[in-house]
Amino acid sequence: MSGVAVADPVEVELDRSEGRRPWRLLLATAWSQHRTKIGVGITLLIVGIALIGPFVAPYEPDQGVEGQFPFSPPSSETWFGTDDLGRDVFSRFLAGGVSVLILAGASTAIGIVLGVAVGLAAAYSRGKLDDVLMRTMDVLLSLPQIVFALVLAATVGPELWLLVLAVGLTTMPRAARVTRGAAVEVVEKDFVRAAEAIGLPRRRILMGEVLPNIASPLIVETTLRMTFNVAVVAGLSFLGFGLQPPAADWGLMINENRNGLTIQPWPVILPVVAIALLTIGTSLIGDGISRAAIGIERGRGRE
């Protein structure tokens, strides 16, 4: 990609922050901006609904409410009406967020861990292995995440572990590029040379010396990947390749109820708004952190 920073940096006074760990300084600087606080607020709201929701749902999310027809309008019994099978929309909404969080979180974690491993190996080894690893990552990028997941789903069927694996594997090359890009400079630094000279094992050097020094770009990348993976995971379950009926899941809810939009829009509107807020929240956090990272970088450059 290009070397142009998309976000404007925040001004950072470094003298105040001497001696602090890089990621602490990063998070503190990020937190000083309004957008980060708003992002954290929105994200916590949706995560809270998703985590607590299943325990406070007024009805069984996968059973019809007695005496209610499919697509009933909101009433005092069912606050947001019923869905295509006469189930309580509000209960399904409360119960249906946790799957998106777990699937997106797990696939992001797998992707980042694999990507960091590949990126570190490439940056540290340089030469042939570097070329082979990074060209392989480039090739993986030529299939959009959702297409790769669909190819796998065509063979195995809509399995959740497969969805996590597919989204994780397609997160890997993106994380690997960022890791290598940042680590390539760090491995040339004196303290890495020193660690090599005293004979520290390679794993200790990579995990103890290199990794902490590329924490900033990795934190930025992780929030960005989380945003995208929420979209991919929710999109796949919207297409019917995530959780299967009668499970309650935001993506699935939208798919099941979109034919009833003209008479009962709530089973579509609630999950759509929740997914939208979740992605906007995480991307605000990511934007705040990346502005902070660039600001810190520029501040160092001035010294």
Binding site: M1, S2, G3, V4, A5, V6, A7, D8, T136, D138, V139, L140, L141, S142, L143, P144, Q145, I146, V147, F148, L150, V151, L152, A153, A154, T155, V156, G157, L162, T227, V230, A231, V232, A234, G235, F238, L239, G240, F241, I254, R258, L261, T262, P265, V268, I269, V272, I275, A276, T279, I280, T282, S283, L284, D287
Partner: protein, 320 residues
């Protein structure tokens, strides 16, 4: 080889290599995983005889390398195999959807690229103004939204719940080109435009801001050129290079985005075909569409590199 031709040849070779490896991945993904296509198609209750028969029919009883060779040599000679769903040649099945998808993507690109460039350039020119702030927040928010969320929201707003101005789904007839359905195209195109414009605008703003601070722009100002001319004649052309890169990546990403958007609007392109074929476990079609999308990505990247050279004066002279 030197110069532009050498560069193009090298990039072409790299593209071909990428596609080759991608074809191996696409093929391998359907082989390496537990379970096989025959069982998936026939279900758990299938008899061993019918399984064996279908495996033979699909060529699954052959060694993997033979199967790959059969497939890839077919692809290269234009024989993409036979659809399992309707026994038609895959090339017949994907012909019309390709036209539908390309039309949708080209329309979205033609609208969103100039729009994104203009928004980004004006934001950079009026840095920190109300316009810039609004654009910044709007593009950040819109860039985060999944395409199906945007699509469904548009359906709620303009096709079903709030207003009923536009069709919610594209009901099209086979053999009729997508250009005959202007009303059906509006919402899918807007969805894709909303997916692309934020990225283009943000990168364009960032690179224009950088260029506006550079020496040669200062020089142009000192010559007494009006600011408008400085922006559009001096800064913008130089800011286009990184923008093209990002835009090409985005259009390639659109190849993934159309899958969901076409499913939302029931638009009969390759994306919807892919989803339907995955549901039907129609492997020959799935493989063909996946390879097609990868090819599109490689071609768009190549075009982006070429466009970058052609629009940036410095690179152009260094290569020729």
């Amino acid at each position: 080889m030197h110069g532009l031709t050498g560069f193009v040849v090298r990039r072409l070779l790299l593209g071909v290599l990428t596609l080759f490896v991608t074809s191996v991945i696409i093929f391998g993904a359907t082989q390496a995983l537990p379970g096989d296509a025959a069982r998936s198609i026939l279900g758990r209750s299938a008899t061993p005889e019918s399984l064996a028969e279908l495996r033979r029919q699909l060529g699954l009883d052959q060694p993997v390398l033979t199967q790959y060779w059969e497939w890839i040599s077919g692809v290269l000679t234009g024989d993409l195999g036979t659809s399992l769903a309707n026994s038609l040649p895959v090339s017949d099945v994907i012909g019309e959807p390709i036209v539908y998808s390309l039309f949708l993507m080209v329309l979205a690109a033609v609208i969103s690229v100039p729009l994104g460039i203009a928004l980004g350039a004006v934001s950079a020119r009026r840095r920190d103004s109300a316009f810039d702030q609004t654009t910044s927040v709007a593009t950040l928010g819109l860039a985060a939204l999944p395409e199906f969320v945007v699509g469904i929201t548009l359906v709620v707003l303009f096709a079903t719940t709030v207003f009923q101005w536009l069709p919610a789904v594209a009901v099209t007839e086979p053999g009729v080109g997508p250009w005959n359905y202007p009303k059906e195209l509006i919402l899918p195109v807007i969805t894709l435009v909303i997916a692309v414009v934020p990225y283009t605008a943000r990168i364009m703003r960032a690179s224009t801001v950088e260029i506006l601070e550079s020496d040669f722009v200062e020089m142009a100002r000192l010559k007494g050129l009006p600011e408008r001319r400085v922006l559009w004649r001096h800064a913008v052309p130089n800011a286009l290079a990184p923008t093209f890169q990002v835009t090409a990546l985005n259009l390639a990403y659109l190849a993934g985005g159309i899958v969901v958007v076409e499913a939302v609007f029931n638009y009969q392109g390759v994306g919807l075909l892919l989803v339907d074929s995955v549901r039907a476990r129609d492997m020959p079609v799935v493989q063909a569409v996946a390879l097609l999308i990868a090819a599109l990505y490689v071609i768009l990247n190549l075009l982006a590199d070429l466009a970058t050279i052609l629009v940036s004066p410095r690179l152009r002279t260094s290569l020729s």
